[in-house]
């Protein structure tokens, strides 16, 4: 009898897992907290800035939050640095060329080494990073946190639904993306440190 109960419970759990559905999370956060912090080393002081024009969609199975797919889009014109003249140069044709290439994107292709711990999951995410019109495949370490039912807390009860938080830190080389390759290395490093923190919401009716 006891064995039968265990078998039924296990079967029910497996069935629940099997029938779990992917949820689409919208990355356009209404509170505007989603952001990217980027840093380039430089002789006088590191050049550090942020971007908050983030949109896109990711699809996650809550039962397996590390199994994630989707695309993150950053509005290049939302890149901000503390000096307005420096920002003008950064967005100009010689650097980011935000007018001609208005989007910076990361499209998830494959999830490697997923590890799940409760509502959190970590993995190495392989995807295509596109900057200034140049696409390169990169692999970044990501941490995904699933917050079921927490959308209500962020909207003062106006909306019901789930939240997801994605965090990653990685590096790229600007030269790989046609941004003054091999130039100005004495003034600004080739390596760009990128830290991404984004929340996605999935409203429920």
């Amino acid at each position: 009898m006891k064995h039968t109960a265990i078998i039924i419970a296990t079967a029910a759990a497996l069935a629940a897992t099997a029938t779990a559905e992917e949820i689409a999370f919208d990355l356009k956060d209404p509170k505007g907290v989603n952001n990217i912090v980027f840093t380039l080393d430089a002789p006088l002081e590191s050049i550090s800035g942020t971007a908050n024009g983030i949109s896109g969609t990711v699809e996650v199975d809550p039962a397996e939050p590390e199994e994630i797919e989707g695309k993150i889009v950053v509005d290049a014109k939302s890149l901000t640095v503390p000096n307005s003249l420096m920002q003008e140069h950064m967005l100009g044709a010689e650097w980011i060329d935000a007018e001609k290439h208005p989007e910076i994107t990361f499209e998830i292709k494959e999830v490697l080494n997923p590890v799940k711990n409760g509502n959190e999951g970590t993995a190495d995410v392989k995807g295509v990073f596109t900057l200034k019109g140049v696409s390169k495949e990169i692999t970044v370490p990501a941490k995904v946190t699933y917050l079921p039912g927490r959308l209500s807390d962020r909207t003062n009860g106006k909306m019901q639904g789930d939240l997801i938080v994605i965090r990653t830190n990685f590096q790229i080389k600007r030269g790989d993306f046609g941004i003054k390759a091999g130039e100005n290395l004495d003034k600004v490093s080739d390596t760009i440190d990128i830290s991404l923190s984004i929340a996605g919401s999935a409203p429920k009716p």
Binding site: N34, E45, T80, P82, N83, L85, M86, V165
Partner: protein, 89 residues
């Protein structure tokens, strides 16, 4: 005229130095806006809040010092009459 130029150079350099020091002696580039990080209580995400705020940097200090040096250098050029009365005789 020489004295006027040298006084102007000293005043310019001192004013720039005091301004830079009073603004926090920023050892980096001049900033026209400053970001402070805040934390979203639900997601725990740290996010920047930008505010327009002018903070002079060492580039502005160097520009001020350079301008003062140019004024002082001009005062040394032999294009101005000397202040020594005997020299004018």
């Amino acid at each position: 005229m020489k004295r006027l130029l040298r006084t102007a150079a000293a005043i310019l350099f001192t004013a720039i130095l005091i301004w830079w020091a009073a603004a926090g002696m920023n050892p980096g580039w001049t900033k026209t806006s400053v970001a402070t990080m805040e934390t979203d209580p639900i997601t725990g995400i740290e996010y920047p809040v930008w505010k327009k705020h002018f903070v002079p940097g060492v580039d502005l200090l160097a520009a001020g010092a350079g301008a003062a040096a140019i004024l002082a250098a001009i005062s040394l050029l032999p294009i101005f009459p000397g202040t020594n009365k005997n020299h004018n005789l």
